[in-house]
Amino acid sequence: MSSEKKQAELIREISGVNPLKCMKCGKCSATCPAYNEMDIKPHQFVSYVANENIEALVQSKSLWKCLSCFACVERCPRDVQPGRLIDAARQVVVRQRGGNYLKADEIPELLDPELPQQLLVSAFRRYRR
């Protein structure tokens, strides 16, 4: 099995999502609040996994722009859950490739007095291993 095939398999497994359920309606991309910040759009994400085009995916900055707001999950008519796919790709990057979108030493600079703990905890969970 090629490594991309394996990675695609892994993403499907972690996410529990079957990208073949997608009917390519584009509602996920229509609904995504972070759409403009993404280089690979949510609906493309689904077909990238289906086509096992993983290298481009894990390099994508979309991984770090998804807000996990579940609008795509809620509104998808085919129950594909693109948000879970994006998270699984992010997991692949932080677990296997040591990717790390948030470095410990950059944190002090990002803090301000009003910032809730919740924000740091959440960002840590999503961005780091």
């Binding site: 309606c25 509602k27 996920c28 991309s29 609906h43 008519p77 085919r78």
Partner: protein, 662 residues
């Protein structure tokens, strides 16, 4: 001992590609009673049937097993062939080695093994078969059509034209159904009322057609050829015979706040009302929920102004009981509720409407007299957005898994009509796929794009965002451009999924007609018997069977009529001989069987029996084979084992079990 012939069908390659048919025939010969076995390419063909007939004659066969497709497909075919050769047709059994074997297994060895076992079971059964003779039952030469929309009207007209009496039962105060609500029809753009109204008039004037409006089917009993149906005629509070249809009562009625069902709640109607001007019958009904007289006891204006004296506040519901030979279901559809799709803001903005509401708006007799306007402020829209597949093609339980089939075409129609009448209005359609199979359909859609400049965007809408300034912001995908669109619109129209009308499940249960998970009635065979229910004597017309447009509905309505006529034309029907019988030597007269029989087919007689030389009079169960439908409930409940079912006897089924487990 039986002399059994086994006939193994290749079904072209359908069976032969996965099952070694020669082996099956070979193995069959080893079974007790089998004196002949052969295989052939298409057993159901003329030549195949001839082979069976020949073998029966030449080898004096007393039983036949055909290893082929499902008995639901060709059991009758093979039984008829056997009959031709002089064999009792009930001496034929089918081993289903296609649907239950070759089509679901890939491994040849495995599939062949299974086919051999299935054949063995069928042989074991035939060894115990006995010749059966069907009884006869009469046919009531009258048909019932449930639903008075275009499907029901067409079916009724066709049956009546063949000379049979037909009753139409319609729930609403008038016949006409959904089609009466439509403005224009695709792909010809002729006016819906102009083609429907004459049919409504024809039906009401037809001497063979009797119409029960404002009525519902309450109870169904009996079986093919001899149904008894109770129809509830709801109280109209208006005497049908006296009313002249002058309409003064509706004009003078002081309660005018009830939402008009016919106009989809877009405007109001009086408490005494006919749903629309061309209603048939043109006799109003009183809606007691909004009538002041019924709510407070004071008013009575309609009664005072009615010169014919037709108003009768004391009227009661009436039950009519009638016998029918055939029943046609034509209960139609409604659009789904949009509570699960509020991202499109249907409940949050008056300017987000369904396509059916748009039909009423575009209609000259509708709430806006045919003027396209916003319901929030009455202004004419400049930007219209249509959203396709709202609730259709949905994998979860929010919507419907199927394509509603009519939306692509009616949206093209709406877009075209709007661009034609209001050239300054821009029309945008967000679509997933444009589906236009049908004569002149794609041409129609292309005209909308090419001649009328309708802007089709491939991509679904994610959210409709009402703006403080009264506009609607439509946030959607343009998949071909790979961008997210924010489009300001004045009105948004939702191509809402359609679903079978409410209450159809209740009707299906009364008719014991099968129904699928989407509440569409199931046809007896998807391709070959599309207008018949698996329940004999029940026929399907229109959208109750699956989404359809008007031409398809009319075609199916005619087909259902022909099937019903075919039944009514017979004087007698052969009944299923697979009925229960009690063994008088075993029966102890306990009444358990009669209690479980859904047809009241079992009664008790005092009968003199000779039990091993002892003569005595015993109370014994007797099955009326004309009433027995052969379910077998009594056979299992019988504590003494006296009841048995012909054709599915205890010994036969046990023999099958044994053969399978061997």
């Amino acid at each position: 001992m039986q002399r059994i012939g086994v006939f193994v069908c290749h079904c072209g390659s359908n069976i032969a590609a996965t099952v070694d048919v020669k082996k099956v025939a070979e193995m069959a010969l080893l079974e007790p009673g089998v004196v002949h076995a052969e295989d052939y390419q298409y057993m159901c063909s003329e030549a195949g049937q001839e082979k069976i007939i020949e073998a029966i004659r030449e080898k004096n066969l007393t039983g036949v097993v055909v290893c082929s497709c499902s008995p639901r497909m060709h059991e009758t075919t093979f039984r008829k062939a056997a009959e031709k050769a002089g064999l009792n047709p009930y001496m034929v059994e089918i081993a289903n080695i296609r649907e239950h074997c070759s089509w679901i297994h890939k491994d040849m060895e495995e599939a062949t093994k299974k086919a051999v076992i299935l054949t063995r079971a069928a042989i074991a059964k035939v060894n115990l078969n006995t010749p059966l003779k069907p009884g006869e039952s009469r046919v009531t030469k009258r048909a019932l059509v449930i639903g008075g929309g275009i499907a029901g009207i067409q079916t009724a007209l066709d049956i009546a034209d063949a000379g049979y009496e037909v009753d139409i039962v319609e729930r609403e105060p008038s016949i006409g159904g959904r089609m009466s609500q439509l403005d224009k029809t695709f792909p010809t753009l002729d006016c819906s009322a102009c083609i429907l109204t004459p049919k409504m008039v024809e039906a009401s004037a037809h001497e063979k057609i009797n119409i029960y409006t404002y009525s519902e089917v309450e109870k169904v009993s009996g079986f093919v050829g001899d149904f008894t149906v109770d129809i509830r005629k709801k109280a109209r509070y208006v005497d049908m015979d006296k009313c002249t249809g002058c309409g003064v009562c509706q004009e003078k009625c002081p309660s005018k706040k009830a939402p008009s069902e016919f106009n989809r709640g877009l405007n109001t109607r009086s408490a005494i009302y006919t749903p629309f001007a061309q209603a048939i019958p043109n006799v109003p009904v009183i809606d007691t929920d909004s009538c002041i007289k019924f709510k407070t006891g004071k008013c009575g204006v309609c009664s005072k102004v009615c010169q014919a004296g037709a108003i009768d506040y004391t009227q009661k519901d009436e039950i009519v009981s009638q016998k029918y030979g055939a029943i046609v279901v034509a209960t139609g559809f409604d659009t789904i509720k949009l509570d699960n799709y509020d991202e499109y803001a249907y409940s949050q903005s008056k300017d987000v409407i369904t396509s059916l509401e748009l039909e009423r708006i575009m209609n000259a007799a509708g709430p806006t007299k045919g003027h396209l306007e916003r319901f929030s402020d009455g202004k004419a829209p400049k930007e219209m957005v249509f959203i396709q597949c709202v609730g259709s093609r949905c994998a979860d339980d929010r919507g419907k898994p199927y394509c509603s089939k009519i939306c692509c075409m009616y949206t093209a129609k709406h877009a075209m009509l709007i661009r034609d009448k209001y050239p300054d209005v821009n029309v945008t359609v967000f679509y997933i796929d444009v589906r236009t199979p049908g004569k002149n359909f794609d041409e129609f859609y292309r005209r909308a794009v090419e001649q009328y400049g309708v802007n089709y965007i491939k991509g679904q809408v994610g959210k409709v965002i009402p703006q403080p300034n009264g506009k609607l912001l439509v946030q959607g995908s343009d998949l071909l451009d790979n961008r997210q669109i924010l489009k300001e619109a004045d009105m948004v129209v939702l191509a809402t999924a359609i679903e079978p009308n409410e209450g159809v499940r209740k009707i299906a249960t009364m008719l014991t007609a099968s129904i699928d998970t989407n509440n569409f009635l199931t046809e007896a065979h998807a391709k070959l018997r599309p207008v018949e229910s698996p329940t004999a004597g029940i026929f399907l017309s229109g959208v109750c069977q699956g989404p359809k447009d008007i031409p398809e509905t009319v075609a199916q309505a005619g087909a259902a009529a022909v099937k019903a006529i075919g039944l009514l034309a017979k004087d007698k029907l052969l009944t299923n001989p697979c009925t229960a019988q009690s063994d008088e030597l075993l029966c102890n007269g306990c009444s358990t069987c009669a209690n479980v029989c859904p047809y009241g087919a079992i009664s008790y007689e005092d009968k003199e029996v000779n039990d091993h030389g002892i003569r005595e009079t015993r109370r014994i169960a007797v099955v009326n084979s004309a009433l027995c439908q052969g379910c077998g409930a009594c056979t299992v409940t019988c504590p003494s084992g006296a009841m048995d079912l012909q054709g599915f006897s205890n010994r036969q089924i046990l023999a099958e079990v044994d053969a399978i487990c061997r």
